[in-house]
Each structure stands twice: as structure tokens, then as C-alpha cells.
Amino acid sequence: MDEIVAEYIRRTVLKIPRDEIKTMLQTWGFLSERQLQTLNFHQTKDNVSQDVAQLCEDNSVDIKQAAVLDIIYNHIYPNKRIWSVYQMNKTGEEMDFFDLTDFKKKFKRRLQSALKNVTINFREYEDNAIWIRIAWGTPYKKPNQYKTSYVVYHSQTPYVFISASVLRSTLPLLCQALVVASNYHDIREMELRSHCLNSLKDIVFKRYSQTFQTYCPRPLQERNVAPESVDLRIIQENRNEKERIQRVNREVFGDGPQPKLEFAQYKLETMFKSNPKMDVLDIKEPFRCLVKFSSPHLLESLKSLAPAGLADAPLSPLLTCIPQKARNYFKIRERKGIFPGSFVSP
């Protein structure tokens, strides 16, 4: 058993950038400062991880203690995992007083009554975030420490961020345990996924700079812009249009940095409408498409499309509504009736 735990620690340490290993071990606190002094952190990571694992094994580390190191690592590097957002609902307006001990007890009890072999760890952070690490086993097998799910719950909100492991079958049980433990009624998955946990939080907690979309065109604002060139013979032909695009872009996206998402997906089931000039397809069935946008920083990328001349300004609300609607997966159907050519997103 000890070697298994030690190996797990060795692999966890291997993931940590070499310069951060000492600090993370200090935060972990399992090894004393004196023991940490005995380690040479200037070796190759391979050797450092071996030494740490050996030292931990000599000090009889158990799996729950090892799991804490894993939580610390994932808390500092959450972007290595992909996170989905869930929202819990309760009937009635009462704000129950949140009792952490009660939550933890109920959560554990619910999980363990259904599945004996689980490792559960909790860790609280200053921003009211409760991190939960669950390693899943089966009725016959011990928990697999390499197949873990992470839950981040901000107790003052109905939102839960879940990074499920490959074992998606455990999700219903996990959701159930959360609902029971937090005294909510039910939980639903939002259509919002990303690697960047903080951006997901920014979106659902509305911490990014929001815009209020208006339909009244505002007059051009005076800005302190240095004249582009001194030579008066050079005129920017479409300067007005460029400024309009910048202004509209700012209105639609806001001035602040965008939350970081890597993709957006649209399942389109709208009608194909041909330009009257093009004598084509005029079918009563929807034109079924699946569109995926991906980028290291999707919203910033979309924001730069109109100024680059690749899109109209304002950009389509299907794209600009992503932070406000807190979703990046959409199913778009044709809105029937009064306004042809407008879309609904169910």
C-alpha cells in the first residue's frame, strides 16, 4: 500500500514545475521544514520526485494526505482540466445558513452509502470556495487515485464547477450528493464549458465588464487620438467606418478583458434562405449544420474580427451573448412567425 501512495506522490510532484515544488510542499505541510531542508531541489525533476516520494514513504504517508497535495496542485493549475458549470435550484427564497460541517457530512454520507470505495477530500479557500476531490472505485476495487473528479462549490451561490474524470457514469451520483448536502432541490448542467476556471467564474458571477446593448446609435465621441500622419495629403478613406467599428465593438464587448473560453459550438437547425439572386435551394426542411469556433482565447479573437475586416460590426448576437447567457453550447432553431430571419436559442 505504501508504495502505491508513494508512487502517486512521485507522479504528482513530477507534474509540478521544478521551481514551484518546494513552495507547494510547504503549503502541503506533510513534510516538516527540517525534512524539506534535506531535499535537493536543484536536481532533475525525476530525482526530486523520487526523493520526495521516498521521504514521504519513510514517514508513512497515507492516501488521504497524498490527496491533499493533489488538491493543492489542481487549485494552482486548474486550467489543466476541463470544467463544466452546474446550477442548483431550490424552491422558496429562504437563504439557509450554510453549515460547512453539515455539508461535508451529508456529502460524504450520500456518496459513501451508494459507493463504499471512494476517497473524498475537502479543502476550503478564502474566497468561499470549497474544493472537493473524489477518487472513484467500484464495489470491488479500491479508488483509482488517477481517475478523480473535482468539484468547486462557492457556498454563497447556486453554482458548482465540476471537472469530471473520464468516469462520466459517476456524475449523477455526484450531482445527487451535492444537491442533498447543500439543501437544494435539483441541479442542471449549464451549456458552459472551458479549461479556464476563473473565466467560468467571471462569467457566472458577472465579474467581467458588462455592456448594455442599446439600439440607439450614439454620436461619435471625441477621443484623444494623435493625428495619424502629418502629411495632409494622406486621407484615411474609411476612417469613419473604422471608428464606427471600434465604437460598436466596444459597446458590444465592453472595454475590459474578456473571460477566457476556448470554444463555442452551435447546432443550427434553421432554414436555408437563398439570396433571391441565387436560384437555389428552397426547401421546407431545416439546413442542419454544426459550427464550432475554437481559439486559445475565443472572445478576444471574435472581438478582433470586425476591426480586421473579416466580419460585420456589430458581430452577431449569437456570438456576443456568450458571457451574458453564460453558455458556449447552443442549439439554434428558426423562430416561427413575426420576425423571419431571427433566431431562438432554447
Binding site: 452551435y266 437555389v280 459550427v291 469556433f293
Partner: protein
Amino acid sequence: DPQKTAFLLRKQWTLYSVTPLYKFSSANLKEYARLLGAFIAAEKQKGFAVEVGVDLDIRVTFSSLPDLRGSDQDHAAMHVQLSSRSVSSKNSEEKLMWSGWFCCVSGDDLSENIPEDFTCLPLFLANGAESYAAIVGSWFQKTFDCRFRRLAISPLNLTWMAAMWTGCKVEKNASATELVFSVPCLPQPLDISYAIHPEDAKALWDTVQKTPGEITQEEVDLFMDCLYSHFHRHFKIHLSATKLVKVSTAIASAHCDGIIKFLQSKYLIGVLMLLTELAISQIQ
């Protein structure tokens, strides 16, 4: 014969154009295999082919694929395979490491006009480590005085493939017609995948294409414009201003860097014919 060509399907092939081979003869395939084998062994001594461990024995096979051609005017396709066997362990199996084949499908444009001693096999497809393609390529270049060049596929040609392949009849549960666009020059690069249900894409193409058995540039342009305008209606983005980098259908998929995947043996010759044409125009 689908069995013989099964090895071609569902693999990623990197494309090259090859200028005509001087004094090549299919009667000498065994000799060529021997010579190429010796060449590779020599290169290994010099320190090339770093993929292979020192104690791997490489065996070269040349074989002919007579079915892979458009007409009798075309030279039969030729397959070169590199397989490896561990030198130390006696009973180890031979593993296929690298595979490449030359072919010509309806290459009359080129083969009609070349002198006697030249063999016309303008299309080369390789699967496996790049270092082997380089070694095999350089042996062919030295031996037959030819030249290999990576075959890039322009966005224009990709749109032709999209239109043509979408028009092919496929069974139920066929995969979507997918176009992948790239916008690299933004502060944050953007990739857009636009996949259309194969039945709906085919229905659109069928209304655009007027003359059976013939496809015109106008029809391809109209098809693409329809797709672009449907996209613009929803997202206000001008796809036509971005770079089309990959086209994927149930028949085959093609990437602008010159990478192809054949997905159905029924249409294999048709796709090879198109690729031969691209190779020939790159040569000329």
C-alpha cells in the same frame, strides 16, 4: 479489388508530386529493393533515420499495384514498403514501418508528351515517419533523376473537392461535409469548423449542379457562396475572407498541407484522378 486496396483506406497520406522517372523498369523491382535497402543501411551508419533503434533490421519491398490506374495508358502504381525486424530477438515479427506508393490515374496530359525513357508516375503518397520519406525520396532522386515536391492543395482546389465529394451518393449515416477555416493572423488565432449534414449538403449541391457528369467553376463558386451566406446570416462573419484549410466528407478528407485520407474504396480512383491532376499541374 477492394481487398487489395483496403490498406489505403483510413490512413493519413502525405502527398508529393514527382517528375518523370528516367530509365525505370518494373522488371527490376527486386533489384531496386536491394539497392534501396543498401542505401538505407548506409544512411543509418551515417546517423540518419534516427527513429529506428540501432538493432532494427530494415527490409525493403517493391511491388506493383496494377489495379490502381485510370486506363491502360497509365503506368501501374508501385508500392514501396519498409518493414523492420528486431536483429537481436530471432522470432520477432516484421512490423510495417513506412509505406509509400507512386501512381498515375488518367495522367495523359503528362504521359503523352514525355520521351521514351521516362516513366510517368506523378503522384506519390507516403505514410510513416518523415525521415523515411526523405531517405526514400533522395534515393529515387539519385537513381532516376527525378524530383519530389510536397503537393500543396490550394483553397480553390479544396472547394472543388468539397463540391464534388458532397455530390457523391453515399449511404445512410454518412459523415458530415465539414469545412475547416483558419484565421491565423489575428491577435488570437481562430479556427472555424463548419459541418453540414450530408443529406442537406447534397441537396444543396444537387440544386446547384445543372449538367450531369460535368462540373463548372461557376457551380462550385455558387455552392460555396450559398454556404458562406448561410453562415454570414447567422454569425455576420465573412468566411470567404478566411483560409479554407481542410475539407472532410464521407468519401475522403483533404488538408491544404497536402494530406489526404481515403474513406471509401468505391471512390478511390476518382480521388486519385483529381490528385494526379494536381500533381501534374505542380510539375508543369
